[in-house]
Structure formats: C-alpha cells, structure tokens
C-alpha cells in the first residue's frame, strides 16, 4: 500500500520548477516571492546548483545518482519530476532547467529541432525493460501464452501515444499477432505508473509494466511475470540532453558524463534498467553521437 501511495504522490506532486537565483536582487526577490506564493521551501542559492528535469519513471535511480554526484563533486542537484510531455512543455515556455532526462527520444529530438537543447549533448542514459506482470501467481507464464487465452478480463498497458512503454507493449502485441484477441480487454494507463496501479490494485488481471516497477516493489514479485525478450520491441531508449538555457553548463556537462560512467551504469542496471552496449563505445569518442549511429 505504502509503495503505491508513494508512487501516486510522485505522479501528483509534479513539482513546480524552482528558479535558482544567483541573480540580481530584483530577480532574487521575485523568486523568493514566487517560492512563497507557490509554497516551495526555497533552498539557498549556490553557484552550482543544477536543476534537472526528470521523467517520472526514473525517480528512484535519479535520487540515488544525484546523491552520489553531490558526494563526489560538491554540486547540488535539484530534481524536478514530471511526465516528459509536461516537462517539455515547461522547457518550451522557459523553465530554467539545466538538464533534461526524457523518457523517450522524441522529446529530446524536438527540443534539438527548436534549438532549445545543445546539439551533440544528447545521449541514452537508460533503456527500459518491459515485463508482463500479474499480481496473481501462475497467471503469467514465461512465454506469454496467457495473452492468447481467456484467463483474464482486463489487461493494462500504457497509452502508446504518451508512454514509450506503451509503444513497446503494442509492438509486442502486434509481433504476437493478438491485437484482435486483446482489443476488448485492453485498458490504458496515461503513464506507466498508472498502468502499474491498475494491475497492482487487481482491477486489471495483468499488464505490461516496467521491470523497474516490479523490482522496486518487492511484494510484486509474489505475482507472476514474463520478462519480454529484447527483440520483441524496439529498445525503450531514454535520452538526456543539456538545455541551451542551462545556467551551469559545465556542471551540467559534468553530470551528463557522470551519468555515463561505468559505476553509474551499474547502479542504473540495479534499478531494473538496461543500457545498450554501444553507448560505451560512443563514450570514448565524444564527437561520435550514438543517436545517429542507429
């Protein structure tokens, strides 16, 4: 219960971006007034206080990573969580983020096209793993045959238009050729957290959720799951990019390098994410951009 509630809170408390104010007294005053109005506790302004916008699905690993980053570099990191779509809209309308960790590639590409992001700074920081999961024991088998059966009333997946995990789930469904069988049974979550809630509360018998979610909630392991093989869908690449408005470009660059370190990769993997092996190749050659290698 507690964990569902926590993930729900994260969804709902999409925090208002907080202006970092090592600025003129007027701007400082303005941001203080704003902070009070918005009810945010304003942190003292430091020169290198990174403001990072992060897709909600990456909350847990990001908290761990930023803590390590602060310990090793001294830079403070303030995280702002939300759906990639909302964060992108905020960035387009002038939100003062230094770095943006999207849940997909599309938002990053669009920001690059609009020249709101530093071109060449984008990289894959994580890859999602899709899992077919049910709270019920023995419902899901390890080859996904349950999908072709009548053993369930509702199957939950994220909206393909909004969530990369939803897109991947639809690719799996069409790869298995069971669109028609599933059509009357499908319910869609607006994002992957909501999809997980549908299954977790038992309202949907099973659903395509993120491996990181199942791993994060130990109780969920009691159910049954099928880790979808990688070749059933296109990789769920999560891209990060440095933003043009970044006030601390050096620290932002430092942080994006930190995200690509081997030790950080190991940490990210421990949260149920994958990383493409080719990212490490691209790492050695900064001018070589993985996004265009594919």
């Amino acid at each position: 219960m507690k964990t569902i509630y926590q993930s729900l809170c994260f969804e709902m408390n999409n925090p208002v971006p907080q202006a970092m104010a090592a600025l003129s007294p007027r701007k400082l005053l303005r941001s203080i007034v704003l902070s009070i109005l918005l009810g945010i506790s304003s942190t003292p302004a430091f020169a290198d206080d990174l403001l990072v916008a992060v897709a909600s699905n990456f909350i847990k690993p990001m908290q761990a990573i930023s803590q390590q980053f602060t310990e090793s570099t001294g830079h403070k990191v303030t995280l702002s969580f939300g759906s990639s779509g909302k964060l992108m809209a905020q960035i387009r309308h002038g939100a003062p983020f230094d770095l943006f960790l999207s849940a997909d590639q599309d938002k990053v590409t669009r920001l690059l096209e609009k020249e709101l992001a530093v071109s060449g700074s984008e990289f894959i920081y994580a890859q999602g793993r899709l899992v077919l999961w049910s709270g019920k024991q023995e419902l899901v088998d390890t080859s996904g045959d349950v999908l072709k059966s009548d053993k369930f009333r509702y199957i939950a997946l994220a909206d393909a238009k909004l969530a990369p995990y939803g897109k991947a789930a639809e690719q799996v469904i069409s790869a298995l050729g069971i669109e028609q069988h599933l059509k009357p049974r499908v319910v869609k979550g607006e994002n992957i957290s909501q999809t997980y809630q549908f299954v977790r509360t038992g309202n949907a018998d099973l659903g395509f959720v993120a491996l990181s979610q199942v791993q994060h909630h130990p109780e969920s392991l009691k159910g049954s799951q099928w880790l979808i093989p990688r070749d059933y869908h296109e990789p769920i690449d999560q891209y990060a990019v440095i933003l043009k408005r970044a006030k601390h470009k050096d620290a932002a660059t430092e942080f994006s390098q930190f995200l690509q370190r081997k030790s950080t990769h190991a940490l990210i993997r421990s949260f149920g994410y994958d990383l493409p092996t080719s990212v490490q190749l691209a790492e050695s050659d900064q001018s070589c951009d993985y996004a265009y290698l594919r």
Binding site: Y154, V186, V187, K188, Q197, F198, T201, G202, N203
Partner: protein
Amino acid sequence: MLTSADYSALWLTFKVASLTTLILLILGTPVAWWLSNTQSRWKPLLSALIAVPLVLPPTVLGFYLLVLMGPEGALGRFTDAIGLGTLPFTFTGLVFASCIYSLPFVVQPLQNAFEAIGPRPLEVAATLRASPIDSFFSVTIPLAKPGFFTAGILGFAHTVGEFGVVLMIGGNIPDKTRLVSVQLYNHVEALEYTQAHWLAALLLGFSFLVLLVMYTVIKTPLRVQHV
C-alpha cells in the same frame, strides 16, 4: 482537425454528465430535503460526508475509488457478488464515480433552496389539507425551482470538467470511458497542440451553449417571493 475519437469523447462526456445530473437530482432531492428539515444529531455527519469530495483532490478520490471498486475492495466484492462484475473501466463505473464526485454540487444548492422556503408555506398547505407528499410536489418543488436549476447546472458542469477521477478509473477505452477531458489531456501530452486547441474550443463552445440555453430557460425570477 478533429478525429472521430474526439467527437465520440465529446458525446460520451455529454452522456455521462447528463445521466449523472439526472441521477443526482433524483437521489439528491430526498437527501437535501431531509438535511434541510432534520434536527438529527447525524446531520453534521452526513453533511460533512457529502462535502468531502469537494476537499479531496480528484486524483486521490479516483485512486481510492479504484481501490474500493476493485476486486479486493469492499464495493468491488459487493458488485461482483450481485453479478455486476467490478466497476472500474466501465461506463457504469464512470457514472457511479461522477455521482460521488459531483454530489455536493447538487445536494447543497437543493438544501439551501429548501431551507430558504422555511416551514411557513408548508404549514399553510397543511391547513388546506394537503398531505405532506402533495405539498412537497405542489409547494416545495415549485418554490425550490431555482435551486433545482442551479443544482442541475453545477452538477452537469462539474461532471463535464471532471478529469482526475476519470483518469484514475477510466482506463481510456474508446466509446466507453474515454471522456473529453482525458482526450484533451492526451493531446497535450502527445504534443498535438493543434488538436488540443480545437477540442478545447469545441468543448468551451458546447459548454457555453448548454449553459446559455439553461440560463435562458430559467427566466423565472431567481428570488422567490413569499410572505
């Protein structure tokens, strides 16, 4: 500009809002009547219960409805036992949740209207040998007419604008639970701003028209004169 999915979401929203308003007017009237007349010590409790959906953020309300109506929830077990199955992801479930969500918006105007009438007109009716039921229909309801209109408009408008609850328990099924607020939100999230603008404009125009018609119909004086 708009797809058939958009129109179907609009139509579905209209259906949910109308049905919810109708149900709430029917169920809300006796409740509001009782509240406006009772001296019971349970009155504050019931009033508070009815007002709670005003305070709860809709997503929170929606989440707990999802838990309550789910197969492990008390309500879910009940509906399952009587053969209805569980309510989330169904049109019925959406109407049920909307009724809870919009309840205070219907009950409170009605209660105020009933209280404003006071005991006098009913006492007069009683001296003319009208039975309580007769006087309710021929005295109270006509006098409380403005209250019914306000309740209807608020209930309808509030249900059209419903978002958090639908998002949590709807499951986004076309023609069944995909209401216009969610459809609009999805357009924005998918960065389809043009479609979002069109749908928002249409929703705004439509709602404005409905309200305009209703306010034109209620040309009856809003202040009821009595004694």
